[in-house]
Symmetry: C2
Subunit: 457 residues, 2 copies
């Protein structure tokens, strides 16, 4: 990048706002691997006006930028090339307001999800987007990627919890759509468009987020069913619990691995059918529990359950969730593996899974999988190991799985996003008209292709 | 319009697909007034391919079109000028699929909301967007306007119930984004952008809609509170009912009018504070009722309620809803009046209402209002009468109310849309950057400004 531009950027954001050299090389654009930015500079504006000035400069110098939040994304969206500079929102972390009447929060984009949750909890409120990476993940990053998580079934993805947004476009235009109202039909849903655009349409600077009252009950059961049909029936019944907050399925390839580990995660012996962690979160501990127990008892009496454990304490709730969140067991037992975050119709999952395993075995010989997911959201995760060369074969493994997925109109990413890693696969999974419409919108808002230009499409 | 174009359109959609003369003049673009299209032609494609061909022709002839659904909108979105032709979706009314596993429905845009609800109910399912005009309102129209209704508090507006959409752009490009998955992060939220765009970005042809299980309980109470602070506390407590489906407030200017009418709508004598209809809809009749009663008893014991009636039968439920849905009483007692559909922060409503009444009285002398609304959604409706010339003064009355509303960052339309009627007011209530971003998107998708060109902005 030009010396003139660097000087102008420094004049705009000050010395504290610019990082170079070792300060750039020591960070990673990937949460699991050490992938430093290949660009030379990290620009850290202190507020929206500074970011707008930064983008006006970049625009007049045709300087491409990559925006960084908490860098917890797993699709390579934060990877930065030599001719790109990083714009990080890390100095914009203010909680401007927690409004109990909304209830809602007004925050800057660099704030972590966890910091928001803590501030909300102090007022008896809850921000329901809940991620494993919440300690580092920034609100801006979760908006840019429309992050999901464990409680989508109850409260939706980030988009459903986003009331308003402020963003800076590629040319420095500030778009302030900081709506606080549940109902507001004045024009296009700009917030919904910016959300999930992976930083290609604008850089999110501030947001208004919906909060809910802090739940006062949490009931968890861990059950197993005999077969897929039983799973479907159990889900249909669970949906009638208004407090249902999670329906997490673990297929036998997952549960056998976890139950056989020496980590104490074994509520009961593995059987032939899938296991499910079912959770209810509500505001009336006594009657929530009653409804939850009635649901379980009826499912048992009707022969739906092969096995069942009901948590009797907060400690047991945590233990049962540990069975579902056993990433380190998978890492230890199956590395190297390719990790999938796909979604498809829940009735299609039964034919899909054996077809995928067969296709992988046909192509790579021996194959091992571990399958689990948020069934009520159509979202399943598969870890696939095809031998010691799995890492090298990653794109080929993905191609095999995505080809089967196409037959079921599935999505190659349910919640992680396309980023750089899945970009090559996108056109085959989108209608040509959709690609055309996305391109027109992107060109209209970022004609020089300055924002995250290697991301999405 | 040119003879060549009319012949080409006839060749595309056939004789059954074209209406002219008396068939045009006999319809109205407004549900309450007789406002025939001023254009000469109504084109009625039988399917998406025909509509795409129609738009290719219109595009090459630079022929402007106005899209028609059920023509129940009250903002003039369907009004048609002499140099515009109507494209009506009325021949595209198929229910392609009701899928219990989703649960979801795949339908064509011309279908009525009520027809969808009936088809869903036949399979124990429910489409939760519920409008007074559902018998005529088309699914496509409700998508184009992001329709709300009475149960937004529980199930959201149309956008929250829309999984996928197919649309035809101004140049005839077909965009098929018929997603069926709860989680799908493959690219921009085109469906969310098309929804609420009032037909300015594309014409919706088909949709995938989320369904929910048919509720099995309905509990309704009609209460009054002493003052605004009590109303806020009651709403905060009601939000902890997971089955809360309506929280409809009627201020004294509304309830006194309705209770004094000879229509039998008077659960109790009017008092000094607002009344509220509170509704719960769930799937566990016994425990839903228990929670609802506990909520009411606690509110009573804590001195929140001035008066209260709990419905003991379906008949009483309907009677209490009739108090809230008393449009004909308002029409009889207050005509002519200007009708508002605004939203603002719920804590701001207390100072806002007397300020509005004062501003109207200051400008017009005597003023009468009736105020009611969906408080949990920020949405209030006001009928304002300023004397026998009210209809003539409509725009001036709106200007007075919207000027006060600006001080509270309110929305000039919560659910009805901008249409033609409120277009002049929009720029004063949107950030300049938002207007700029909307303009760029519209220009990118409809550069010739062929679609609903006098609508929105």
């Amino acid at each position: 990048m030009s010396v003139t531009l660097e000087q102008a950027l420094r004049a705009t954001v000050g010395d504290a706002g610019l990082l170079a050299g070792a300060d750039v090389e020591s960070r990673s654009c990937d949460p699991f691997r050490n992938v430093p930015p290949r660009g030379s500079l990290i620009v850290r504006p202190a507020n929206t006006a500074e970011l707008a000035a930064v983008m006006r400069l970049c625009s007049s110098h045709r300087q491409a930028v990559v925006s960084h939040g908490g860098r917890t994304g797993v699709s390579g969206g934060a990877y930065t090339d030599e001719d790109e500079i990083v714009v990080s929102l890390e100095r914009m972390r203010a909680i401007e307001e927690i409004c109990p009447e909304g209830p809602l929060a007004v925050v800057q984009a660099g704030l972590s999800v966890e910091a928001l949750q803590q501030a909300a909890a102090a007022q008896g409120l809850f921000y329901p987007v809940d991620l494993g990476s919440k300690g580092s993940a920034s609100i801006g990053g979760t908006i840019a990627t429309n992050a999901g998580g464990n409680r989508v079934l109850r409260w939706g993805m980030t988009r459903q919890n986003l009331l308003g947004v402020e963003a800076v476009l590629a040319d420095g235009t500030v778009v302030s759509a900081m709506n606080r109202l549940v109902k507001n039909n004045m024009g296009y849903a700009l917030k919904d468009m910016l959300c999930g655009s992976e930083g290609t349409l604008g850089i999110v600077t501030r947001a208004v987020l919906r909060l809910v009252p802090q739940p006062m009950s949490q009931d968890v059961a861990f059950v197993s069913v005999h077969h897929h049909a039983g799973l479907m029936e159990l889900l249909a019944r669970a949906r009638r619990l208004p407090t249902l907050s999670a329906f997490e399925v673990m297929w036998p390839d997952y549960y056998e691995l976890v139950a056989a580990s020496d980590t104490g995660r074994r509520p009961f012996a593995p059987g032939a059918g899938p296991c499910v962690l079912i959770e209810s979160m509500g505001y009336h501990p006594q009657s929530d529990r009653l409804q939850f127990e009635e649901f379980l008892v009826a499912a048992g009496e009707d022969g739906l359950l092969a096995d069942a454990v009901l948590a009797e304490s907060g400690k047991q709730v945590a233990e049962l969730w540990r069975v579902r969140e056993a990433a380190e067991v998978i890492v230890r037992a199956m590395s190297p593996f390719v990790s999938f975050d796909i979604s498809l119709g829940i009735a299609d999952i039964e034919p899909f899974l054996p077809r995928v395993r067969k296709a992988l075995a046909h192509r790579f010989g021996a194959v091992r999988t571990a399958t689990f997911g948020h069934l009520g959201d159509n979202n399943i995760h598969i870890a696939a190991h095809v031998g010691p060369d799995t890492a090298v074969l990653e794109t080929e493994v993905e191609a095999v799985v995505f080809e089967v997925l196409r037959d079921y109109d599935g999505a190659i990413t349910a919640e992680h996003g396309i980023g750089r890693h899945k970009r090559v696969f996108l056109p085959a999974h989108k209608h040509a008209g959709e690609m055309e419409m996305m391109l027109r919108v992107r060109d209209a808002l970022d004609p020089l292709r300055l924002l995250n230009r290697n991301v999405l499409f």
